[in-house]
Amino acid sequence: MAAEIDDAQIVQLARLAGLELDRERRAAVLAQLSGLLAEAGAVNELMAGRREVGPGIRFDAREARDGG
């Protein structure tokens, strides 16, 4: 999404988030989303194809150690 986002979409998303962004702020955010996060789709692409049954999120290292 990030690479293709435009100002109109930022206006809508900001409104949904309840965030006031003037033209200057929207330009900065657009540059951020288009630059730093240009590849944000990669993880979505990989994970959207995985529909395994069972626990899906574990980020606690304790579980790694305990074999959870």
């Binding site: 702020r25 900065a28 951020q32 994970m47 959207a48 626990p55």
Partner: protein, 473 residues
């Protein structure tokens, strides 16, 4: 001038050496603190490694340390340490490098700081950092840009850039850093020191200003791996004030250090560990692998699947969680943020929840891949960063391939992996690039097996002298 010869000698001592002398009564904590304060006064104006120096508090702590009977002196007795500005100390402003929190004075120490104090450490000041730890350069708009002691025109990295610069410049014997995506290991590598990111849960986050809750971890930054082991031993362990801290016993980190490298298996990741590096960085990595192999370590090629989205996943989490933490301030005081942090926070507000969840799911996939690799080896070897420190103010980096990347994305290539998996990682100085700037190698280990990383790093430092190199002054 960087102080008298006697004082320079004291600031040149490693943490373990200094503590040993102080415990034995051969050096007094007051002498250590005076030497440190003198050196900070001489050198820090050119580095901006500190946001605040607590001369009065350090002297009082040193005096108190001198009254401790010899039998009761702790492992860090009288040793001057620095604290990153996002770690609470009772009665001291804890601004996290921000204007937003410049009036925040905690009533008590963070658990990890209290534990270091209990071990005898004396805190001399609060180190500069990227605002709210949300960036990789410590180019702080409120307190000034921290600078790299090896070349003040270069960044010390971030977000614990002040801690990295202070340790490298001998302005303290060790420092606390915090690491969400890279912030202990990156400045360790750029400043030519050792830095350990412990497993998530190994060190309490109580009293540490959060950046991203599911990634944040505090760790030691010192000139040697042995000193990192000593600091970790004091900091680590379950804390009732932090529910995410783990009920995992803290082992003896010092005893295994002397076991050497013979028989250890070092995993080198096919088409990853040594690819796309600046020429000098690649040479340093190959030389480091030769040293490890020469000392009896077995080098093994290992495969790690699904590495591609790792930077994307790290950044997705590290943009969504900070946006949640800062939501109220971003609406009430947007103008009090620096431009870069404000923009990241605003961008984070616009992320979809499903993207965040996919990134969290990906962590499970990546960790499984690391668990497989670490069943065949004792540590995974990579560089910490593919290049040496860029100029102060740089926002983009040109890679060896010619590709230009945003600096945050560029530094994350290897750094992103430990925070995503929760596994510990150690950065160890291993040479200098063609530009004369330090290079660091990274070792990633099994969850809660910091001891093996410290053993490998210490073994390496017994065979090399990169950690003894001192920046010019």
């Amino acid at each position: 001038m960087a102080g008298s010869a006697a004082h320079r000698e004291l600031t040149g001592l490693g943490l373990r050496e200094a503590a040993g002398l102080a415990r034995a009564g051969e050096v007094s904590p007051a002498e250590l603190v005076e030497a440190t304060l003198e050196r900070i006064a001489a050198l820090d104006p050119g580095l901006t490694a500190f946001i605040r120096v607590d001369e009065e508090g350090a002297r009082a702590a040193a005096r108190a340390a001198e009254r401790v009977p010899a039998a009761e002196r702790g492992p860090l007795h009288g040793v001057p340490l620095a604290v990153k500005d996002n770690v609470a100390l009772a009665g001291q402003v804890c601004s996290a490098g921000s204007r937003i929190l410049d009036g925040f004075v905690p009533e008590r120490d963070a658990t990890l700081a209290a534990r270091l104090r209990a071990a005898g450490a004396v805190f001399v000041g609060r180190t500069n950092m990227h605002e709210f730890a949300y960036g990789v350069t410590t180019n702080n708009p409120h307190y000034g840009a921290a600078r790299n002691p090896w070349d003040p025109g270069r960044t010390p990295g971030g977000s614990s850039g002040g801690s990295g610069a202070a340790v490298a410049a001998r302005l303290c014997q060790g420092a606390i850093g915090t690491d969400t995506g890279c912030s202990v290991r990156l400045p360790a590598a750029f400043n030519g020191i050792a830095g350990l990111r412990p497993s998530i849960g190994r060190v309490s986050n109580d009293g540490v200003v959060p950046l991203a809750w599911t990634l944040d971890t505090a760790g030691p930054m010192c000139r040697t791996v042995e000193d990192c082991a000593l600091m970790l031993a004091a900091m680590a362990g379950r804390d009732e004030r932090d529910p995410q801290s783990a009920e995992v016993p803290v082992p003896d980190y010092l005893e295994p250090l002397e076991r050497g490298l013979d028989g250890l298996r070092i995993g080198v990741v096919e088409d990853f560990s040594l690819s796309g590096l600046q020429a000098g960085v690649k040479e340093a990595m190959e030389a480091a692998l030769d040293v490890l192999a020469g000392a009896g370590a077995e080098l093994r090629e290992v495969r790690l699947g699904e590495l591609g989205p790792s930077v994307s996943a790290l950044l997705t989490i590290d943009i969504a969680e900070p946006a949640a933490y800062h939501a109220a301030w971003l609406r009430e005081r947007p103008g009090d943020y620096g431009e870069d942090v404000r923009t990241l926070l605003e961008a984070g507000e616009l992320y979809l929840a499903s993207h965040y969840i996919q990134a969290q799911r990906y962590r499970t996939v990546l960790r499984a891949s690391f668990e497989r690799a670490l069943s065949e080896c004792d540590a995974v070897f990579t560089p910490t960063v593919p290049f040496t420190a860029p100029p102060v103010g740089a926002t983009e980096v040109r890679l060896e391939s010619g590709e230009e990347l945003d600096i945050i994305t560029a530094v994350m290539r290897y750094n992103a992996l430990p925070p995503l998996t929760g596994m510990p990682a150690l950065s160890v100085p291993c040479g200098f690039g063609e530009d004369g700037l330090p290079v660091g190698l990274q070792l990633i280990g099994r969850a809660f097996d910091e001891a093996t990383l410290l053993r490998i790093g210490h073994g390496y430092q017994q065979l090399t002298d990169w950690h003894r190199k001192e920046p010019p002054r």
